[in-house]
Symmetry: C2
Subunit: 574 residues, 2 copies
């Protein structure tokens, strides 16, 4: 449907035209698509890739970042990252001169805007490809800022994040291509003698960006959660200022370096992508969010600041996309694969010590227990079996740390230590303590295996707040019917990023779909294999729904991209 007034040209468009077709199609089909292998295997990325990436990471340490990361700086360098595994990173980053940096960002717009959607998309693909080549370097940076275990840092911080970036590029590209560049409008009409005399006009539709896009990163998934906003804004013509979490700067600094390098090589101003580093506690996100130049804000983080951004942003006429916090829910009714259920659920609880925005927290089990292929289990027996599965999965310290990673902050550590207190307060009981695990390499890392607390469904005061980290609640309900009602009600009120259900009954599964639709959360059913509720696949699974308080947007649907640009028409008679 695109009627280009002039055909856009750029060497990168020639090079990546095929990729653009692939990602357009993948987005429309929502089926499986992958451009970047998720395996950190030397057979895939090369024999020296892992060592080279580690060396590149280590070369950043204990010095000012060596490449230019912004287009307006004060000359001061800031940075205070400490690895959750212990070591101080010692990297420092240029502090922004806000006026100069934002002026540079705006000055970079016209050429980028006029390049058109296809050229922008091709340049974005080239940027993501460049980031992909640095996946091992980024993985080490993600590991030592988020505390993720290495393989997860590689996968979620690398290829999976990169594919979320491509997905945003595809969504933004397709959205812009839905508006024709130019049409002839012909309205039938007659002249005074009754002869046909149509009114003809040419109408040109010009896509214009909104303004500077501010992307505010988080500590736990510095790249994965930032890339959709970055690339959705970039492909739609907006310059991007990336304000990383002060404890997770390096992964985004590498990203910014890669992006600026590609932009410059492609003939565009690197000021289109800039890093806004800050001294921890400086409140730079707030300052930037209130700047006139900033028109779009993407945020991942806590609900207090996210709520402020939504309200203040609206008052100032800015677009705000947020992902905040929620109650991820599992409803256990029955199963014909108990081992699969326990293994899958234990893994979901264990991975990165539950420090994923998608990790399960609230597990509803009926008081009458659970029918399984190994016989009927009472509520208590199910709790014991789940606890055992977690203990087995995390029993070997050396292996466990490869799943658990390190705890990212004091709040998570406090949560992990508060199980007895929570159980006492809630008149519940601790089914499984959160075990402290000694990391065989990093002695200072605080590694915690998941703990489980059994509580009664009445104690919403305990389980309807997000308890981030390695804590799960086994919630005793009167029935699966009540479990599903709680799924719907608590997610609708408090938000949720994921939900899952285990049942052999089609009726219960149908009820779970209704409850998920009412709560506004995506549902996974009977996961017993190698797909986990915490994980979503780019191009197919939406991340978040925008239908509950956990997030006002989803990666990546039309609503996430369609408002990042506007269309200005010019019409005239022909």
């Amino acid at each position: 449907m695109t009627a280009q007034a002039t055909k856009p040209t750029h060497p990168l468009l020639d090079q990546h035209a095929g990729v653009l077709d692939e990602i357009r199609q993948a987005l429309a089909e929502r089926s499986w698509f992958s451009r970047y292998p998720e395996s950190p295997s030397p057979r895939v990325y090369g024999e020296t890739a892992a060592a080279d990436g580690l060396a590149a990471y280590e070369a950043h340490l204990n010095r000012p970042y060596a490449a230019e990361l912004a287009s307006g700086v004060t000359g001061t360098f800031v940075g205070s990252e400490v690895s959750p595994y212990g070591p101080t990173l010692g990297v420092s980053y240029p502090a922004l001169d806000l006026d100069a940096a934002l002026a540079a960002a705006r000055a970079a717009v016209p050429a980028w805007r006029d390049a058109g959607p296809q050229v922008r998309a091709a340049v974005c693909v080239e940027i993501v490809d460049a980031i992909n080549r640095r996946s091992f370097e980024v993985a080490n940076a993600v590991m030592h800022t988020s505390g993720q275990p290495f393989v997860m840092s590689f996968q979620a911080g690398g290829p999976h994040a990169q594919e979320r970036a491509l997905e945003a590029v595809a969504a933004g590209l397709v959205e812009q291509e839905r508006v024709p560049a130019s049409v002839v409008w012909e309205k039938p009409g007659k002249d005074r003698e009754g002869k046909p005399a149509p009114i003809r006009m040419q109408k040109d539709y010009r896509i214009v960006p909104r303004g500077v896009s501010l992307v505010i990163g988080c500590n736990t998934f510095p790249t994965w959660n930032a890339y959709p906003g970055i690339f959705a804004s970039l492909v739609t013509g907006n310059p991007v200022v990336i304000k990383p979490h002060p404890r997770a700067v390096l992964p985004l600094a590498i990203t910014v370096e890669a992006a600026r390098g590609v932009l410059a090589a492609a003939g565009f101003d690197p000021a289109l992508v800039q890093l806004a580093a800050e001294v921890d506690g400086q409140g730079l996100a707030r300052t930037l969010a209130e700047r006139d130049e900033v028109a779009i804000i993407d945020y991942t983080g806590g609900p207090a600041f996210g709520g402020w951004l939504e309200e203040r942003g609206a008052a100032l006429g800015k677009l705000v996309y947020t992902e905040k916090a929620g109650l991820n829910t599992v409803v256990v009714d029955s199963t014909d694969d108990l081992k699969g259920l326990l293994g899958n659920l234990a893994f979901s609880l264990t991975l990165y010590s539950g420090q994923m925005c998608t990790a399960p927290q609230n597990i509803y089990v009926p008081t009458g227990g659970v029918d399984t292929d190994e016989g009927h289990l009472s509520f208590d027996e199910f709790g014991e079996r789940l606890g055992s599965a977690v203990s087995r999965l995390t029993g070997d310290d050396a292996k466990a740390v490869e799943l658990l990673g390190a705890t990212v902050n004091d709040q998570v550590r406090a949560n992990a230590e508060s199980l007895e207190a929570m159980a006492a307060e809630a008149e519940g009981r601790v089914l499984l303590q959160s075990r402290r695990i000694a990391h065989p390499v990093y002695a200072e890392a605080v590694v915690r295996a998941p703990g489980l607390v059994a509580v009664d469904v009445q104690r919403e005061d305990v389980y309807t707040q997000e308890c981030f980290g390695p804590v799960g609640f086994l919630i005793q309900t009167a029935s699966t019917e009540q479990s599903l009602a709680q799924l719907a009600d608590t997610v609708k009120e408090h938000g949720g990023m994921t939900a899952s259900v285990y049942s052999t009954s089609e009726e219960v599964l149908e009820g779970a779909r209704e409850a998920a639709a009412t709560g506004g959360v995506a549902l996974s059913e009977n996961l017993t294999g190698q797909i986990f509720v915490n994980q979503t696949a780019a191009f197919s699974d939406f991340h978040g729904t925008g239908a509950n308080p956990a997030a006002n947007a989803a990666y990546t649907d039309s609503a996430f991209v369609a408002n990042r640009f506007r269309v200005i028409t010019a019409r005239r008679h022909i």
Copy 2:
């Protein structure tokens, strides 16, 4: 791209499948499309249509509205409409029982949601068709609430509004169809022996509405400005509560009656469309906007309440689409058709006494004057010629009222009377007084022809506020370059719905396109015939851009519809 799990069926879908194809295509092509003839000619709508419509209108007067307009009422009837032409309408409407009405709206959702986008779209087409059959009745109601002249009431209140409704239906339909109903996702994988063992999942994508949609109507275009929000929400599954302007209820009451009739006949709950009438000054819009049940708000009206809605709505997690106020701008540089220019511009100023949100207000003319096909005109000469054109167009009272209509409120009348005072304050001068015209039929109608005030470009204090009604400013600039800079700057800061330029220079036209893109406003170039800057064509011209403070949305782009529904995924292994 739609993979329906089960093919939707409904008699109306069979009936209107062809129309849905037509409007899908028209939206994608953005070329000319019309379903409803704009001419009120008896040859088109039938010999008795005008008389029947008038009779139907008159049957509403001086009594409670005869049909059911809501699904939860108090038993009280409210209404205080007085025609800008003089007569009191005397219609009263049921007051809502908010709890009951909103509960009924929500209860109506599941069946409407589960009917699917295509069935909803077909039902919406049937509703718009039903409204179209009442176009003469609606036209009389629009005329006697807005003060529009009759032909405009018919066209803008009838077929043109109806086509904006269809456009919203098309946009919402297409947007939902972009999400497949169900896909099989297959990730390549190998088992332990290295044999291919893909992971296969079925993913079902369910479209869910957001919640109750509140549409807040305005006094001047009760149907035209309300229909896009109403139908965008309805086609995406949301029930709609329509809160009309207390002085322009009847056109929307007729709309609601038509919609509820079609919904009931189609087997759906009429509670999906309800009228929320109020006592003037009751503040029902504010009350409704803060209700938990309300998830979407569409608003046309003044900037103060619009700004409150945007901020408060964001704080409460609601979507808010607003159209407020702005400075519509004309830049005059040169022309090769002076008569055409003067005729077109005079008409744009005259139509409905400038009480269109799209009517020109600020006309920039360089101090050096204007080159034309009739020779060079000085600034003063151009002003005289424009004044004469307006005077000629409005010189015959009986003909003039058919263009001007009646002034809608005291503010407009005050503006029309303040030309001398404004000129004095601004050290400018009145080029043309706003002439009071006696209406040959309605003696009480206050009819005003446009007036013109010449001011210097420095006096932004005077011309950068919206002066709604029959007042134009001829603004003397140093050069066309300055005119274009003012276009960009004032619209960017204060908003604008329309802009137009007259020039024989391609360079100036290109500069105007840049200025319009910078200001974020659509541009019409060299309109000298039967297309006017105030008018936009559904399916082709966007109304508003969402890129300046006048409106945060446009009729109708993806951004206007894409967030009115959300997608809930359910996935499972197969």
